[in-house]
Symmetry: C2
Subunit: 416 residues, 2 copies
């Protein structure tokens, strides 16, 4: 398998506030082409270290991609340093200067002389024109290895890679291709998932299967390696369907969809509507549902009833219920769902009430205690959870549990 390294250039990427996020996208593209990423380096505007990094990378890996450091200022050193690292000169390209001058003219400005530096390209390198910015990229072979020098902004380097570099990488990798598929699973643990699906995925040796725990779910990653795209897609689809069959309704996504997308699509398909009443999640469930473009087709309304008064007035929860069982109880969760559904005249309503912490826990109802209420035409139901984690995680897991409860109820009603 071919090996690759990514070098991210820029002193801002070495501060406590910023990270190199460019490399994730490039990692995926390289993996899809069957190339393994072996090392990432983040280096500042430091000529000596950058030169050593590029020189070492070219020595040990087949493909080296750098991002950043191609601007017009003195801090932007990638151009001359990458040339030096492979023992070449920079050469002036008149046509690049013309393009740059034209760019500035369109903005009604004169090109500053300093930008002329961007018309210099590594000798013998292929120029990668940049329709989205001023810095051209460059690509060249050196000692049988491929060096690709790209600008920093994703809006510039991603189309440049897709249009001008991807084909070259694929050809080097012998036309092999790795396609991926992600299944997402709720309500069942990592080892139970593995136990149930290992006998299945072991019969697909061409697909690499890995099982990861994410903050509120289990992810099953499938990667199929093939010279034939259709073959890879088919193997993935077949395996994904068998896994989904084996795990049943615990699988909520077979192709990487988010839970809010899945629930949204289910509602849309069935022409049903939803309203949401939230206490401890404070609007998170509404936010997630409306994150999906087109959600107005099924999401009618939400109520964030933080105070008891709001629960009573906006949802019709009775003072008795609150006094007798408390704001964090199955009875209140169900009353919130019932009231929300009636007021919004929606097909379904879900409700959440709980203790997200850090304060407010009791012995009987510790921090992390959450009740999910559900209402449909047949009445109300509820579930009790005790979520581990901090305030952020408890709120997130509550939102996930509420959306998943709705999804399972819809499926159950149809199976019955």
């Amino acid at each position: 398998m071919l090996s690759a390294e990514i070098i991210a250039v820029g002193s801002e990427l070495l501060t406590p506030e910023r990270m190199d996020t460019n490399s994730l996208w490039f990692t995926q593209k390289l993996n899809e082409a069957g190339v393994e990423l072996k090392l990432k380096t983040i280096v500042g505007d430091d000529e000596e270290r950058l030169e050593e990094t590029i020189r070492d990378a070219i020595k040990r890996s087949d493909i080296v991609i750098t991002t950043g450091g191609l601007g017009p200022t003195e801090d932007d050193v990638t151009r001359q340093v990458s040339a030096r690292a492979i023992g070449r000169q920079l050469v002036y390209h008149a046509e690049l200067e013309t393009v740059l001058r034209e760019r500035f003219r369109r903005w009604g400005r004169e090109m500053p002389e300093i930008n002329k530096r961007q018309a210099y390209i590594i000798d013998q390198a292929e120029v990668l024109p940049n329709p989205n910015g001023s810095a051209a990229g460059m690509m060249t072979e050196a000692n049988g290895k491929l060096l690709v020098v790209l600008p920093g902004p994703p809006k510039e380097n991603q189309p440049m890679y897709e249009d001008l570099v991807a084909a070259k990488v694929r050809a080097m990798a012998g036309g092999v291709l790795v396609k991926r598929r992600l299944l997402r699973v709720s309500g069942i643990g990592e080892s139970a998932v593995d136990e149930r699906i290992a006998p299945i995925y072991k019969t697909y040796p061409s697909v690499q299967t890995s099982i990861l725990f994410s903050k509120s779910e289990i992810e099953v990653h499938l990667a199929a390696r093939s010279e034939n795209e259709e073959e890879a897609d088919n193997a993935l689809l077949e395996l994904a369907e068998k896994i989904a069959d084996a795990l049943g309704p615990a699988v909520f996504a077979t192709n990487g969809e988010t839970l809010e997308e899945v629930v949204g699509a289910m509602l849309k398909e069935r022409g049903k509507t939803l309203a949401v009443a939230e206490s401890c999640t404070g609007g998170l469930i509404g936010m997630r549902l409306t994150d999906v473009a087109g959600s107005s087709a099924y999401f009618l309304e939400g109520a964030v009833t933080y105070s008891n008064e709001a629960k009573i007035r906006a949802l019709g929860v009775s003072e008795e219920t609150l006094a007798q069982h408390g704001a964090v109880s199955a009875e209140t969760a169900e009353a919130m769902a019932r009231g929300m559904r009636e007021r919004a005249a929606s097909d379904y309503a879900i409700a959440v009430t709980g203790i997200a912490g850090p304060d407010g826990g009791t012995e009987e109802k510790p921090v992390g205690t959450v009740f999910i209420g559900y209402a449909d035409v047949d009445g109300t139901r509820s579930l009790r959870f005790t979520f581990p984690g901090d305030r952020y995680l408890i709120r997130w897991r509550s939102s996930q549990a509420a959306l998943d409860y709705l999804r399972r109820r819809i499926l159950k009603a149809e199976a019955a």
Copy 2:
């Protein structure tokens, strides 16, 4: 200034899904000690590349910190590779094996033989005991440089660094210390900020000032270098106050607080309450406000009125207003705020209605058009914005604008 490198070890950090986030915390700690981070490397469980990386790092930088790869399995190669990189052997520490066996005994389990590998330490290195996990760290000088080998989980490596490494780094750096402070500024551009505050920060040559654009605000980062902590803190406070004076109410945080924390603290101090009516933000503002622990003291209620029916029923917006001006209008935003405030009986209410896209834009009201409504005891007001960006950014910027509008109204009322 001393230089440092961080090496994160683990093949999972070279996938498209995971990043090395450990290094941000270490960067901050190193910076605080006056040490400059010059390079970060992310390398997999690849002995050859890891050895080369450690060897090169020790050659060119004063302090080298590795994280990860200290587990008991064959994939965990950092222990033997770091020893080899500096030309040393691993030596067996009986007392570490005792601690490990004791750990397993407390869990009611026998220690697997494989864990014995974790009792081996680089010859002459200081053992860094790990009260939070099974992998001990190690610290040693090699050719006058400091090599620190730490486990991967933040819960283990952060206390280990604080308790056993930080003092050594500070001593190497000559007791210099860098303290930081972050000011956050809204409603004014990057160059305007610089123009107004450059004459001020230039009189503080001991403080390094940098101005960055974030997704909805300008950040002013201050870093003071001194041998005296109090001196550094005082210089930062003094400069932060002068900058805040010069920029006036545009500065919403002088010590890194989030806008929801600032608005929450203002309401709490004044004993005032808030309710929020959201359309295009779908619950995001409620979620942000309730992200702050203790927010129930001032946040009463939110309404996510996505449909027109909900705006009419839950907020009392009139059918006429909606028909005449549309759901996305100043009139509707103000009616939403007024209705929310009356129903919740809160001191303040804010409301948002807009077009987050990707669809729904018109020539008159393109995608990104957002109206913020505000209501207090004196009546209602509104502002119109046209935000650039995708659905995510438009929603985020809308939430930021709404919270900032409330903050500015409260300040204005007090100044009047």
